[in-house]
Symmetry: C2
Subunit: 207 residues, 2 copies
């Protein structure tokens, strides 16, 4: 029985650098798969169907909600985003771990859905550094820095839901820490026990 894959949730406040850390981790560890979300947002130049996102229209997305095809979903600035269960299950069955870059509510839903989910929270080195990152990055309309910081503080107080907490003071170190977490979990007793029983090492003593 090959080891079944698990969901690896990476969450953190807006501006913490989650995307960069995840990209670096996946560059080092090609065995890990990135979750592909379903969205009603139109594809941008360079985005590929089924790789960047599964692009669908609103009726199809709302149908997916009704049919419980999504582990978690949210509406952000008028567009739906969600995580299709089928994509995760296919990868888990093939023994691949899947990284999910999702928000706090999404993390909660994944934790509720999968008992073997690994939840990692990425923290900024300090509030000052988070503010600096938010100020310096390209801003969308209505991007209110003080509001974002206040939301970050509220969100960080939900850290008790997570299994691991990393401070993103260095992209390489944070990426490596996620690798350690992923590889350690592949030896967690409850995860390997089915395969140990199957190869009869833990069967009845007969020598």
């Amino acid at each position: 029985m090959p080891l079944r894959g698990v969901p690896i949730v990476v969450t953190g406040p807006s501006g913490v650098g989650k995307g960069t850390v995840i990209a670096e981790m996946m560059r080092r560890d090609p065995g890990v798969v990135h979750s592909v979300s379903m969205t009603t947002r139109p594809a941008r130049p360079g985005e590929t169907e089924g790789v960047s996102y599964f692009f669908v229209d609103r009726p199809r997305f709302e149908d997916a909600i009704r049919r419980h095809e999504l582990v978690e979903w949210a509406e952000v600035y008028g567009n739906y985003y969600g995580t299709p269960l089928a994509f995760l299950e296919e990868n888990f069955n093939a023994g691949r771990d899947v990284v999910l870059d999702i928000d706090l509510q999404g993390a909660s839903a994944v934790r509720a859905h999968f008992e073997d989910a690994i939840l990692i929270y990425l923290l900024p080195p300090s509030l000052e550094s988070l503010k600096e990152r938010l100020v310096n990055r390209p801003r969308g309309d209505g991007d209110d820095i003080d509001l974002r910081l206040s939301e970050a503080c509220t969100e960080m107080r939900m850290i008790g839901m997570f299994h691991y907490a990393l401070v993103n003071d260095d992209v390489g170190r944070a990426a490596q820490a996620i690798q350690h977490i992923i590889h350690a979990d592949r030896h967690r007793l409850q995860r390997v026990y089915p395969s140990l029983r199957e190869n009869s090492l833990l069967g009845r003593p007969k020598v």
Copy 2:
């Protein structure tokens, strides 16, 4: 507040190759400390007091037992062996993780004593390979292979007490797996939370 060290227990049946895997892991990761046992066994050529063992006489060892200075101890072939609590505490306070190469009863005692202990069980690839290793290694008097194998089978059924299980099919891979486990644990929420609170990242929202 620097991260406090934790005990890393590595247990496995006689002949599984624990010593070799631990030595390889420590060669790669000099930040980890090996526990130094107290023993009444006489020092052998090349062994150093305080590095190989703390060598003591029986009255001193029995005194240590009475004073609860040992986390765990056992009498093997007429000699006492035990793990001094003070050695562990000193290293934990200095932020160093300590690897303990101990038997099942020792692992149980460490688990009972330290709530943040990490317990790793090292398994042979198969019973046949364990038998082969036991047959081929230098044997002491009264080393009964069938008895050892039967004991191994009984012992392996206590695997539920451990957090991680590794199959030692390759020394390098097993050593690396232990490294992953040690480094992942350094980001475990309950372990890092005190330091996160202290640097006020998770204090009351004030921006």
